[in-house]
Every structure is written in C-alpha cells, then in structure tokens.
C-alpha cells in the first residue's frame, strides 16, 4: 500500500512538474531568435517558436536513454542470477523505453519539419536514434518469437544489453561528428541555455523522469497482480 502511495505521489509530481514546465516554457523562458523578417519595411527578429519543442523533446529523449539503460541492467542481472523477476523488470522497462522512443521520434520529427523544413535528414543523431527505435521494436519481436520462457528471457537479456550500446553512441555521436543536429547540453549550440530556459528544462526533465518511473511502477504492479491471480487460480484448481 505504501508502495502504491509512492507511485501515485511520483505520478502526481511528474504531472505537476511537466505542466509547470509547459507553462514556464511559454510564459517565462525567453524566446530565441531565428534570423529576421521584414514586416512593413521594418526588419524585426524572427522568434524561433519551434525551439519551444526542446523543453519536452529533450527530456523525453534523455528519459528514453535512461530507461533503456535499465533494460540492459535488468538483463545483466537476469543472466547473473537467473531470477525471472529481472526478466519481467527488463520487459516493462523496454515497454517504457518504447513509449519514450516513439514520443522522441515524433516530437523530433515535428521540430525537424518546423526548423529545417523537411521531415527527415539522414544525419548521425537521427540515424543512430532511428536504429535505437528499431532495436527496441526488435526486442519485442524477439520475445514474441520464442515460446520457451527460459530461452526467451536469456535471448532477450543478451539482446537488450547489446542493443543498449546504441544509446551512448546516439547520445555522443553529435559530439564526435559535426552535423546539422544541435548539441545543446555541453555543446556549442547550448549558449542560450541559461537562467529561466535552463530552469524550465530542468523542471521538465525531472518531471519526465518522475512520470517514467511512475509508469514503470504501475506496469510492474499490473504484472505482479497478474502473477498473483495465476497463483491463486492454480491453488483453486490444485
């Protein structure tokens, strides 16, 4: 019950922080400029409203990297201890990763269209992240293709660990190779990220991580409840 309360509190915190971040992004964080435009003979700075996608797109992407790490971690723990609970944890973490990955891909695509006037560019970050999306989907395809529980868990654990290697590669690649994709955190493109913009980003990031954690806990509770039902049914039949 206490665990349940923690999950609900984390969910509420995540909802509150992401809502606050949304309001902060549009009402408090100053707009960045994107060139200039001539209106009625006057040259005025063109506000880059598309940059506002940053405050949700990046936290969702960072959350996908972090949750994917847990897929690999629980996979490794399963291989080491052969405890089925780690396989369940890895599977649920992969589900949450898939949700974040899809949201990152779509919000990133909308940002790409708004800023670069194209839906897709085969540049290093987008390409490696697209590969990561395919790997997460492949994780579930692999699971569904194996019937034997033990083999399924083992193969999925190994695949999860190997697939995760793409996450740090995708994160770092824009730092290693110059590309059109901005490097905001710790990069040259992040010179505008300070003061209210930085605070807004941190609030959104913490909120998104809280949401990710709460969703993971809710799904785990669902799985454990299913297992208890199966056990109770077996006791009734036995």
């Amino acid at each position: 019950m206490a665990r349940n309360k923690t999950t609900i509190a984390t969910l509420a915190l995540g909802g509150l922080l992401t809502t606050a971040a949304f309001l902060m992004a549009f009402l408090w964080a100053p707009m960045t400029d994107f060139g200039s435009v001539n209106i009625g003979g006057a040259e005025i700075a063109r506000p880059d409203i598309a940059q506002k996608i940053f405050y949700f797109h990046v936290p969702v992407a960072e959350a996908s990297f972090l949750v994917f790490f847990f897929v690999a971690l629980y996979g490794a723990l399963f291989l080491a201890k052969k405890d089925r609970v780690y396989d369940t944890k890895a599977r649920i973490a992969a589900e949450v990763t898939l949700m974040f990955v899809i949201l990152t891909m779509i919000s990133g695509d909308l940002w790409t269209k708004a800023s670069w006037d194209t839906w897709w560019v085969w540049e290093p970050r987008l390409t490696t992240y697209f590969i990561m999306t395919l790997l997460v989907v492949a994780y579930f395809v692999l699971r569904n293709s194996i019937e034997d529980e033990e083999r399924r868990a083992t193969y999925a654990a190994v695949f999860g660990i190997v697939a995760f290697l793409d996450a740090p590669l995708s994160f770092m690649i824009t730092r290693w190779y110059r590309s059109i994709h901005p490097v905001v955190i710790g990069g040259a493109s992040g010179s505008w990220l300070f003061g209210p913009r930085l605070v807004t980003f941190i609030v959104a990031q913490v909120g998104m991580l809280a949401l990710g954690y709460a969703i993971y806990q809710l799904r785990m509770r669902e799985e454990l409840t299913k297992e208890r039902i199966e056990a109770a049914k077996a006791a009734l039949e036995g």
């Binding site: 063109r46 506000p47 409203i49 949700f56 940002w111 708004a114 709460a214 969703i215 509770r221």
Partner: protein
Amino acid sequence: MDNLEVYRVVLNGAPYVIAAYALIWATLAVFVGLTFRRLTRLEQELAVVEDAVERRQKA
C-alpha cells in the same frame, strides 16, 4: 500585411509546436489511464479469486 500573414511569417512553426506538446501529453495521459483501468480490473479479479481460495481453505 494582415494579421494572419504576420503570424504565418513570424510564428511559422507554431502548428508543429502545438502538435508536439499535445501528442506527448495525450500519449502519456492515455498510457497512464489505460494502465490504471487494467490495474483496477485486475485488483478486483484478484480480490475475488483470493477470497475463493480463502473460503476453500476454511471449508
């Protein structure tokens, strides 16, 4: 230049921004909502099954 044209030139990315925020929020809300609904149903089922187990053990 009318107002609509000004918005189109100055805020040309606005529909994409609105779509991105709406999509992220809607997806998270639907995911959480569906999980809660399934969980509530499962917990009700668990209570019924565990009650049946308990009654059988007492009998």
